[in-house]
């Protein structure tokens, strides 16, 4: 018993010694920021804070999709419009989308669950790449903005097969890839 106590004391003294001498710094898991003054990057917190301003900026800059349809390329363009829903395609749960009628090109609004592209991030000017530490954070920010689109705009639409044939009014970021225009919405309403 005495031996155990002595060992425990020795261990405590050693730990205190090495910590006191700066040989090792002991930090509670995840509490490094208290010592370094740095806060861990939280993309969802940033996108949540910025969302309203991002929506306002894209809405302000949006042009009627019918007018700019032919000019859209791989760079994101802010667009708006009202169109008839041809179909809500949900064959693949991870890649559902609304197909819009009345456009020259194939135009879809992505409705999750996975969102591709960085159109929303690329259309806002509130944050730029240099505000982030690295490419990973910049990419995380884009993903979080897409998640805001999903939780704040797409989910409340309550999509079902009933939406086919109804009219939708939307604002969002559009890009064209392989002849198809894909829109990530920042506001949408089914009439």
């Amino acid at each position: 018993m005495k031996k155990k106590i002595a060992l425990l004391l020795a261990a405590v003294m050693l730990a205190t010694g090495v910590t006191g001498c700066g040989i090792v710094t002991v930090v509670k898991i995840g509490q490094e920021g208290t010592l370094t003054g740095e806060t861990e990057f939280d993309s969802s917190q940033q996108s949540g804070q910025d969302w309203e301003q991002v929506v306002a900026e894209i809405t302000e800059n949006a042009k009627d999709l019918k007018e700019v349809e032919g000019d859209i390329g791989s760079d994101a363009v802010a667009v708006s419009g009202t169109a008839v829903i041809k179909e809500w395609n949900h064959e693949q749960a991870v890649k559902t989308y609304i197909v819009l009628d009345g456009y020259e090109n194939e135009v879809v609004i992505q409705t999750g669950s996975v969102y591709t592209g960085t159109a929303v991030r690329d259309l806002q000017t509130l944050k730029k790449f240099s505000d982030f530490k690295n490419q990973t954070e910049w990419s995380e920010y884009a993903k979080s903005l897409n998640k805001e689109s999903d939780s704040q705009i797409v989910q409340p639409l309550g999509l079902s097969d009933d939406v086919n044939g109804k009219e939708i009014t939307f604002v969002g970021g559009a890009v064209k890839k392989a002849g198809k225009i894909t829109i990530t919405v920042v506001s949408a309403q089914i009439n």
Partner: protein
Amino acid sequence: MSEKKSNNNLMMTILKGRTFIVLIILVIFFRIMKSNFLDPTTLAMIAKHVALYGILALGMTFVIITGGIDLSVGSVVGLVGMLAGGLIQEGLTLKMFGVTLYFSVPMIIIFMLLFGLFTGWINGLIITKLKVAPFIATLGTMYMCRGFANLRSGGATFSSIAGKEGLGNVGLKTLGSNWFGIPAGVYIFAVLAIIAVVLLKKVPFGWYVTAVGGNEKSARLSGIKADRIKIYVYMISGFCAAWVGLINTAQLSAAHPASGDGWEMNAIAATVLGGTSMAGGSGTIVGTIVGAFVIGVINDGMTMCGVSEFWQKVIRGAVIILAVVIDQTQRNLQAKMALQARNENK
């Protein structure tokens, strides 16, 4: 007869100093090809690389003199980098206590050097106790270390090795910086080279190493603990590889699991070029240093001249073969001269 003898003597002198002669020729050649080859910045860059190959080659010299080979050093370089980088960037998390330990850089250096010794000890044990051929044993540990290096981060790079003041773990990058205009690695190479010279030539340990490589059976009969000596030389090699892992990580400001890939070949090439016999029993540290310079000058010189990486490999391979052939010629000539001398004495 005496003319033939003096020709042999001249030939012998040239053969003994062959690596140094090659080094001078290479420097002149690359200086003609690239006018900035001898600029201070270029020399500092070459010295930086030579230090890495050189430190590895120091350890390799001891191993090859005993008749062994250590293929694991390149992977140990990668693994040490990943372990050091991980300790700095992520610390050591002890989930059961709910804490993360961030070690100071001197402690990390000590841990990594001990780890290098440990890998060498494992190599030595496999070779001496399990009687596995050095080539196979170290080939196995080479793959294992590379695997562990990838497992440490899932193949990703540790890019924040600068550490943080608040966590008390800044300073590793000092090993990759210049001290008074000379890369820190060069100083470490110089200190390790001096220690290696003393170990090999001035203390009994060095004689034992040479004796084990020259004739293991005789060495055992004369009371030398050959197995222990072999374990020690692999530990020296691991220790040197750990230093290279630390310096390389500091120079790159990042730790990548593929670091050090194929460097064992540079180390072997430098050692062989330096005159260490692959058959064991002979070799010098000074020769290895010159060999490391030759490898460094060839590598950087060819890169500066725009020679493709594929051709560089071809040329490096040819240089190694040539070095071994010349080594063999020297040995044959030595034997011939010894025989001649004996006949004359009769």
